[in-house]
């Protein structure tokens, strides 16, 4: 780990952009699969615009989480604490709001502060105590879950009608949640692509030693990435609280948002070793997940077969990129 790996170029090199187009190819495959399934089973009513919006809306919470996870993975870290944090954020906001519209803003602010603190702690444990990110965030996940379930064991509090706009409202005839998701994705894209902060994130993940030589503080970047990741998880928690009208301590872990968000990011072509990938890949990954889910529903596949296939799909999709890479794997 201490040696400079030979296979990570110091300068980003873009020869044949297979990796760049691979998420799009996978997404296209998923779309074709979905459309063919609709036509073959004679359920063309699933091809209306309304329905396609519903498909996109299936995984908003997962998508928001995955956007944050992308930042963590880009700096060669990872975050397993997102699922517990989602639950914590949903419960905290719903308890603070407790049906009162005046408390919406304080609740959101509190939740965001919670996210920032958790992200900061994750980042510090990883950079200062040199704890492997997987363990650091797994530990954090256990701690959050423990604290949370010490206080609540069921749905707690409720969100006022006004706040349900997040999940159920619409703007310009489009579901607000979906619009928000794409807005967030665009913001993340902008940060990563057009700001110095963004290029430093890539630099730290791609080659920490070179980044350090170039005067970039890896600590600062890793901590920032984790704060962003946790804040996204908190937003996903707020979205779920709005969607479920309340928060419960199991919604994050039941939704498997930790492992699924990682799967979405890597299916989107961001590599676990860090430094390569991007937001649009993650968006494609999230859409692939939604399409596959809907596809399974349309062809009415057995729930257990569905699970088997989902595992295979995750590995196959990642293999689709990685099989060509020369990088060392572990």
């Amino acid at each position: 780990m201490n040696t400079i790996s030979l296979d990570k170029p110091l300068i980003k090199r873009r020869p044949f952009s297979f990796e760049k187009w691979a998420p799009a190819l996978l997404l296209l495959t998923a779309i074709i699969l979905y459309v063919v399934a609709c036509i073959v089973t004679g359920q063309t009513q699933y091809l209306t615009l309304d329905n396609l919006l519903a498909v996109v809306g299936r995984s908003i919470a997962l998508g928001i989480t995955a956007i944050g996870q992308t930042f963590a993975i880009l700096v060669a870290s990872i975050d397993l604490s997102v699922a517990s944090l989602i639950s914590a954020s949903a419960v905290l906001s719903s308890v603070v709001m407790n049906g009162n519209p005046d408390m919406v803003v304080p609740a959101i602010v509190l939740a965001l502060i919670l996210g920032a603190v958790v992200g900061l702690l994750n980042g510090l444990v990883i950079t200062q105590l040199k704890v492997n990110p997987l363990i650091a965030t797994l530990g954090m996940s256990l701690i959050i879950q423990g604290v949370l379930s010490a206080f609540v064991s069921n749905f707690a509090g409720s969100v006022p009608e006004e706040f349900q706009f997040f999940a159920y409202g619409s703007v310009f005839g489009l579901p607000f949640g979906t619009v928000f998701f794409f807005g967030l994705a665009f913001l993340a894209f902008f940060i990563l692509r057009y700001t110095r902060f963004g290029s430093q994130i890539y630099a730290v993940g791609g080659n920490p030693d070179a980044a350090r030589f170039a005067g970039i503080s890896t600590t600062k970047m890793i901590v920032s990435a984790h704060i962003i990741c946790s804040i996204c998880a908190v937003i996903a928690g707020l979205y779920l609280a709005s969607r479920l009208r309340s928060g419960a301590p199991w919604i994050g872990s039941d939704g498997l948002y930790d492992l699924e968000s990682i799967a979405v990011v890597v299916i989107g072509g961001t590599i676990l070793a860090g430094g390569r990938g991007g937001i649009w890949g993650t968006v494609a990954g999230m859409l692939i997940f939604s399409l596959v889910d809907s596809f399974f529903n349309i062809i009415e596949i057995d729930a257990f077969v569905k699970q088997v296939l989902r595992g295979v799909i995750i590995v196959a999709a990642v293999a689709f990129y990685s099989v060509k890479s020369r990088r060392a794997v572990a």
Partner: protein
């Protein structure tokens, strides 16, 4: 030292608790009394078909939903993630096969996720061409908005766990958690001395139907003057259950074991068996492995049930509603009988799998027992 840690932790938790714990009351004396009464009431309907019976006499009229020709029944399932749901779902599939009026049965499985189930219901509403929607909610509170939305478009049936709205045509469920708790605890109270040690084993906190079983069980046991030596969560894990009981046996005697669900009852019995202890009074459930062990070892036991036949009832209700026949509603309360020593033999069937739920009401169905995994 450890006491200090323990107390300060406990204090910290307690101080913040009152402000955090919310509404839902799982120890409601009115509901307790109501279910206690329902346990003894005679149900309406054919006595040999408890899945068609109902307690009380309120009916919901459904002429407005009458439909000519074959119908499409849609079902949003919370999941088939435990044996109880597997048995129930099999009941349902077999019941569908008995109805020629049901042309199509569309089933979507949310795999235990609220978020997914909401999306599933939206999908069905948008494109499923459903004539009626059956929902078995993953959780009560979270699914309420989705069910309310569905009610505006088509008739809805909810069963097992409820929702916080009266909009469905009917909500099908057996008597309930309080009833289940009462049945087991009253049996324990009747079969041990006052002051005896009772171990209470629960699956996990927070689930409505399990919380009410516990609160009513605890109430009855306490009123009978019994000594609760501990309440532990097993997570429905056999190994953990057995370990917990072994630990308690190391520290003292156990005169009775009360469980809020019977899936791990045999593991708990084995802890006594392997340690060379006599088997105490047991509250289990209607799983075959427990019933068989009970008979084989001649245990003083009872099996309250949460009948899987309610999955049949959901289809029967759907079919009747689409023919415009009235159904019990807004609640369809099914009878909830216990299995006792007197009728144990009726329910034992060695050909069935260990975790088959005997109160399935499925013995007369055409594909019994193969469809349920029997031989």
């Amino acid at each position: 030292m450890h006491k200090l840690v323990k107390h300060s932790l406990a204090l910290g938790l307690m101080m913040s608790l009152p402000t955090m714990v919310m509404a839902q009351n799982f120890d409601d004396p009115i509901e307790f009394a109501k279910q206690k009464e329902q346990l003894t009431m005679t149900a309406n309907g054919p006595a040999n078909k408890p899945w068609e019976q109902y307690i009380g006499d309120r009916l919901a009229s459904t002429q407005r939903f009458a439909k000519k020709g074959g119908s499409t029944v849609c079902f949003s399932n919370a999941g088939v993630n435990n044996p109880w749901r597997v048995v129930g779902y099999t009941d349902m599939i077999e019941e569908v096969a008995l109805h020629s009026d049901i042309k199509a049965f569309i089933h979507v499985d949310a795999e235990g996720s609220d978020d997914k189930q909401i999306a599933d219901i939206n999908d069905l509403l948008a494109g499923g061409n459903c004539d009626i929607l059956i929902v078995s909610p993953n959780t009560t509170a979270a699914l309420t908005p989705a069910v309310e939305k569905a009610c505006q478009q088509l008739p809805v049936i909810v069963f097992d766990r409820g929702v916080q709205t009266n909009c469905p045509v009917t909500f099908i469920h057996p008597v309930g958690g309080y009833g289940f708790g009462i049945q087991g605890a009253e049996f324990v109270a009747a079969n041990v001395e006052k002051g005896s040690n009772v171990l209470m084993l629960r699956i996990l906190p927070g689930v409505d139907v399990l919380e009410t079983r516990y609160s009513s069980g605890l109430r009855v046991l306490k009123e009978a003057g019994l000594n609760i030596i501990g309440t532990e969560f097993t997570g429905a894990d056999n190994a953990k259950t057995k370990s917990i009981v072994e630990d308690y046996l190391q520290r003292g005697t156990i005169d009775a074991v009360w469980m809020d669900a019977g899936a791990t009852a045999v593991a708990a019995i084995e802890a006594f068996e392997d340690g060379g202890y006599d088997i105490p009074v047991f509250v289990g459930e209607d799983q075959q492995d427990f019933l068989q062990k009970w008979k084989k070892m001649d245990i003083t036991a009872i099996a309250p049930t949460y009948p899987t036949y309610q999955w049949r009832t959901a289809i029967i209700a759907a079919s009747r509603i689409l023919q415009g026949e009235s159904v019990p509603g807004p609640e369809w309360v099914l009878p909830q009988a216990s299995i006792t020593k007197a009728n144990l033999d009726e329910f034992i069937n060695e050909a069935m799998p260990p975790l088959h739920y005997a109160m399935c009401g499925c013995e007369d169905m055409p594909n019994y027992p193969q469809a349920w995994g029997g031989k």
